[in-house]
């Protein structure tokens, strides 16, 4: 029975027509061509331990060595913390834990007291993280200048702040673009179109080179802060367009019903229009987040050591010079970005399905 079930499924889905049979065969050939070498490189022939380049060079034991994971292992703490002082790294670990706690509290839809979770995430966590990471001598945490931050720590800080700022700013810009007031509208359109018409790399250069021209040297913001401002500006302009698409999907009747009930403009937006608009556009919002996460790799152009940059630096280590060191570094970076981005998109799909189940098909 089971066998015939599988056979029927194969016939219906993979072998239903000559064209389908041909496609199935082509796919099988492609997989046979790509998978064995991948497995060989990543797992079976990979070098898992060692203390220098000798381990990853071709030897009689291993004539064609695969990925040099030993290199990643030795450098891993640099990939995570950058130059963050050795004795202070527990603070970064604590920050990761606090962040993970907040993310789970906020994103787990049936978690208790999610309102408190939001308060924690948007108010307590930023203050806590700032004190924890950059230090507060008064309570015994020595200052760690941001120039020492690096690796995954910087990638997480930049992308989290970019995402958390871009959504509210993007919403405000999108509303501004549809505003009745000409000044608000013109400013919003000008900002959105200008930032969107410029590559992120340019925004970053402008934030890091031009910002100091406008503020007195004494107050000249930190390099990392400047990059953060650049990323947030860029991300919110993109987010504004995503939100605008969602706003235009809301029928006029919704605004009229809210108005007729006496709800003010802001209440109408916050209680009626935005919850629906953001829901419609959730896939696009997550898409923007994923793009933003990957785009943070560009902060290296203003001299910040994000995760990818630490790999760039480490692969030049003469101790580990071997034909496969660079490849291994990049494969590791790819895996890291893939896991993070795939996680985000899976979560979004999950939420979408949940919302669809809950409220059924949209009205009309």
């Amino acid at each position: 029975m089971a066998r015939s079930g599988i056979w029927n499924w194969l016939r219906a889905n993979l072998l239903s027509s000559p064209a389908n049979i041909a496609l199935t065969l082509l796919c099988l050939i492609f997989l046979a061509w790509i998978i064995p070498p991948l497995v060989r490189f990543l797992l079976t022939d990979a070098v898992w331990s060692g203390s220098d380049r000798q381990a990853c060079l071709a030897s009689p034991d291993n004539p064609q060595p695969g990925a040099c994971w030993a290199f990643v292992r030795v450098w891993s703490s640099y990939f995570i913390f950058g130059f963050y002082p050795l004795g202070q790294r527990w603070r970064v670990v604590l920050f990761f834990a606090a962040l993970a706690f907040g993310v789970v509290w906020l994103l787990w839809l049936s978690a208790p007291r999610r309102d408190l979770g939001a308060l924690y995430f948007f108010l307590a966590l930023p203050v806590l993280s700032l004190i924890l990471l950059s230090g507060l001598p008064a309570i015994g945490l020595i200052n760690v200048p941001t120039t020492l931050w690096g690796g995954i720590l910087v990638t997480i800080v930049v992308s989290t702040i970019g995402m958390v700022l871009s959504l509210p700013l993007g919403i405000l810009l999108a509303l501004g673009r549809r505003s009745r007031f000409p000044v608000v509208k013109t400013l919003s359109v000008a900002f959105i179109e200008f930032v969107r018409g410029v590559p992120l790399i340019t925004v970053l250069f402008m934030a890091s080179v031009m910002l100091p021209l406008f503020v007195p040297e004494r107050f000249s913001p930190d390099k990392l802060v400047r990059a953060l401002v650049g990323v947030a500006i860029f991300a919110s302009a993109n987010m504004a367009e995503v939100v605008r698409a969602g706003l235009s999907a809301i029928p006029r009747g919704q605004y009229e019903a809210a108005n007729a009930l006496g709800l003010s403009y802001w209440r109408t937006m916050a209680l009626v229009v935005l919850p629906q608009a953001l829901r419609v556009t959730l896939p696009n919002i997550v898409n923007t987040f994923v793009a933003l996460f990957k785009d943070t790799t560009l902060v290296f152009v203003v001299g910040i050591f994000d995760f990818l940059r630490t790999i760039e630096a480490a692969r030049g280590d003469p101790n580990w010079a071997s034909p496969i060191t660079s490849v291994t570094g990049y494969v590791f970076a790819a895996l890291f970005y893939f896991v993070c981005c795939y996680g985000m998109s899976r979560y979004a799909q999950n939420v979408e399905m949940r919302l669809a189940r809950r409220s059924g098909p949209r009205e009309r």
């Binding site: 919704q254 007729a260 209680l271 009626v272 059924g360 949209r362």
Partner: protein
Amino acid sequence: MATGTETAGPPRAEVAVEIVGLNKWYGEFHVLRDINLKVTRAERIVICGPSGGGKSTLLRCINRLEDWQSGRVIVDGIELTDNPKQIVAVRRDVGMVFQQFNLFPHLTVLENCTLAPIWVRRMPKRDAEALAMRYLERVKIPEQAQKYPATLSGGQQQRVAIARALCMNPNIMLFDEPTSALDPEMVKEVLDTMVELASDGITMLVVSHEMGFARQVADRVIFMADGQIVEINEPKGFFGAPQHERTKLFLQQILR
């Protein structure tokens, strides 16, 4: 429907709605021509007429969903101007039911009903929910309170919309073709709800082609065409002895 006399000025003016010399254009198109109308408190008015005649537009001027170029609209003693405070004051006092229901699809039936009481009237959530349940019982669907609008039939959705409007304790209710989007078998349940409401002493203005409803509950029936009030009369006279050719023609077409 007593809401108390929390506002100063003429408490519950005897004239619920007063419209004087109202004119409105959509670009070149003259939708409302010189409309004059006085609706007394607790009066039930049915407005009918061919489509494009300005019925809905007139109704939507009463809570300022539409603005106009000249003329005055005074609702419950408050003159509607560009002043947002007055507009909100009027809207708090005027409930509206739409042809397409316009329920909020992301909220449950109960949340649809409590939204405005909580956020506009600043009522505690518990009280708002009790109030909402009372009105949902009146429109005979308390058992649907926890469902989402999309899972209800058209007739049920429209009854929720009526309950939602009633939760603001309005003195005046506007109905904009409340049964036009419904399947025939659902028209009756909505009309029954409205008839029941009419016996309550609430001021009602209804744009509708349901002539049976007009006969049964209307104090006056208004016939509108080409942006003008052509004829206005008690139901008996209106249906029994229409004065104008346009009215006769329209009634012939609609009553067959």
